[in-house]
Amino acid sequence: MEARLRRLLGTDTFLPYWLLLPTLVFIGVFFFMPLFNAIMLAFRADNGAFTLDYFKKMVADVRFIETLKYTFLLAVTIVPLQLVTALAMALLVNTGFRGSRFFLYLFALPLGISDLAAGLIWLSIFTQHGFLNSILYSLGFIQRPIYFISYQNIGLTFLAIVIAEHWRATAIVLVILVAGLQMISRDYLEAAEVLGARGWKKVWYVILPMLKPSLQSALIIRTIFALQTFAVVLALAGNIIPVLAGEAYFWHFLYRNSHIASAYAVLLMVISIGMTWFYLRFLRSRMEVIRG
């Protein structure tokens, strides 16, 4: 009996599960346990009773509405811009001209740059005596530096963050799109050409529809990460522009209140899930319209 059991556990039927086990345990301990604990921290008072106090406190914070607003604004500004830029890059490179691989690797370079470093890189450009002001001065446009990053110029500060984040994270969209483009068989493109589709028509009627799955996953992944934008904002703009992840960080790190930090984290999770659900639903219904 025991030998038989041992043999059964050692067979191909069970081997894959053994191989998955470490990952499953890890995911359990480092994803689902924190998820559970975060919800506990956010909803349970120190005496163990259920409470909405932390959420009330979070919502009552003077910066809360601003935080929500900027987090959303960042995501809905950056992500479409990135999709368009990455698509342009991918299509240019996909023409396969001499040296296209070189340019592809070059475009993907920011993939290795952290959000913190990207913030610092663009700080060297946007800061008071930074490169942008220096260039504008040497071109004779300005005499005094412009304060791109300040409470007085919230709009410009926001723009600076959009540019920095767009610069940094477009590479990931590019990689997803290029991987998708590589999976489109040359046959389709050649067939399209034989049928007379050239240039923009080929892109519009053949490439884009086939690239749709990649565009969808890029959209979802990027939106989720854009909602978590944190270090770029902090490095570039301090706390001029508040974002959800930043608030979680401040509540935990500065104010030592992990309850409210957790409340922010839970909110972030809920928004992420909501956006994903929205996209999936929205995009699927569009697909059905096309099919039907």
């Binding site: 894959p16 599960y17 191989l19 998955l20 470490p22 990952t23 890890f26 995911i27 480092f30 994803f31 346990m33 924190p34 998820l35 975060a38 921290l41 342009a88 240019l92 023409t95 001209f97 340019f103 070059l106 475009f107 993907a108 370079l109 290795g112 740059i113 952290s114 913190l116 470093a117 610092l120 890189i121 700080l123 060297s124 450009i125 005596h129 490169f131 220096s134 260039i135 610069w167 990689v175 991987a179 590589q182 989720i224 978590q228 944190f230 902090l234 490095a235 301090g238 992840a245 979680a248 960080y249 935990h252 790190f253 992990s258 922010y264 839970v266 972030l268 999770m269 992420s272 899930i273």
Partner: protein, 273 residues
């Protein structure tokens, strides 16, 4: 070359050159900043190219209190992370690539879902848990959460890598006298090694770059990004620029090494042979 073709060519090269400049110029700027004399960073009007280049700014950064220590911490955490990640994730990637088992698709979907978890949601409660477990403010603790963050990527990437090694090869080895594990070790592993090395470097970069969790989970044993972030408000600009430049160097180096793999990693089905 006909006229319209020439025009198209020209436009194409202008397009890619513009994008290339867009990517490179900011890196170039922070590079310059890190080797500009400290007083010139604050000068106005500031020349774009400094009067002379100097290592003094970089030296200042590296000699600043806590930098060297956090740099070493970063390396350790990244090395631990890549070991943990491959040890945990590669077997799962192998299983998904090789076997058709019940729950395979559910597992793949679950892996994708974990990528939706905000870092804040993991880091804040784990900080509380780690205090209880004695892992708070330890390198292992940071490496563990970095592993959690890199694990979904590792599983997806290694799945692609092992799918690129035909199953036939292992089966052939088994008919030639290898056990299942022997076939893996002698055939699949050597063939997957370049891909696994690329995955390892990618994991290294993820850990090296990560700042939120590293900051939340440490007090004294900061990693480099955590150290820079927590001191950012109090640091002079040249410290920040030198720090930013220093952080991107190894990341760019590794990205360059694994450039051929980057696109296959996301393709999933095909791995470079």
């Amino acid at each position: 070359m006909s006229y319209p073709r020439l025009l198209r060519r020209t436009l194409l090269y202008m397009g890619v050159t513009a994008f290339a400049l867009w990517v490179l110029v900011p890196i170039f700027f922070i590079g310059i900043s890190s080797f500009t004399p400290r007083n010139e960073i604050y000068a106005w009007p500031k020349p774009i190219i400094p009067s002379h280049f100097t290592l003094e700014t970089m030296r200042f950064f590296l000699n600043s209190y806590g930098v060297l220590n956090s740099l070493l911490n970063s390396v350790w955490v990244a090395l631990l992370t890549l070991s943990f990640t491959l040890a945990v994730g590669a077997p799962a990637g192998y299983a998904v690539a090789r076997f058709f088992f019940r729950g395979r698709e559910a597992f793949r979907l679950g892996i994708l879902v974990t990528r939706m978890f905000p870092t804040a949601l993991l880091a804040v409660p784990l900080a509380v848990t780690f205090i209880r477990w004695g892992l708070y403010d330890t390198l292992v603790g940071v490496a563990l959460i970095h592993t959690a963050m890199a694990l979904p990527f590792a599983v997806i990437i290694t799945t692609g890598i092992f799918m690129g090694v035909p199953k036939d090869l292992e089966e052939a080895a088994m008919t030639l006298g290898c056990s299942r594990f022997g076939a893996f070790a002698r055939v699949a592993l050597p063939l997957a090694l370049p891909g696994l090395a690329a995955a390892a470097m990618f994991t290294f970069v993820i850990s090296w770059n990560e700042v939120f969790a590293a900051t939340i989970l440490t007090v004294n044993n900061r990693t480099l990004p955590a150290h820079i972030l927590t001191t950012i408000q109090a640091s002079p600009l040249y410290f920040r620029f030198a720090g930013g430049f220093f952080m991107i160097l190894p990341a760019l180096f590794f990205m360059f090494l694994i450039r051929r793999y980057l696109f296959h990693m996301w393709g999933g089905a095909t791995a470079e042979r």
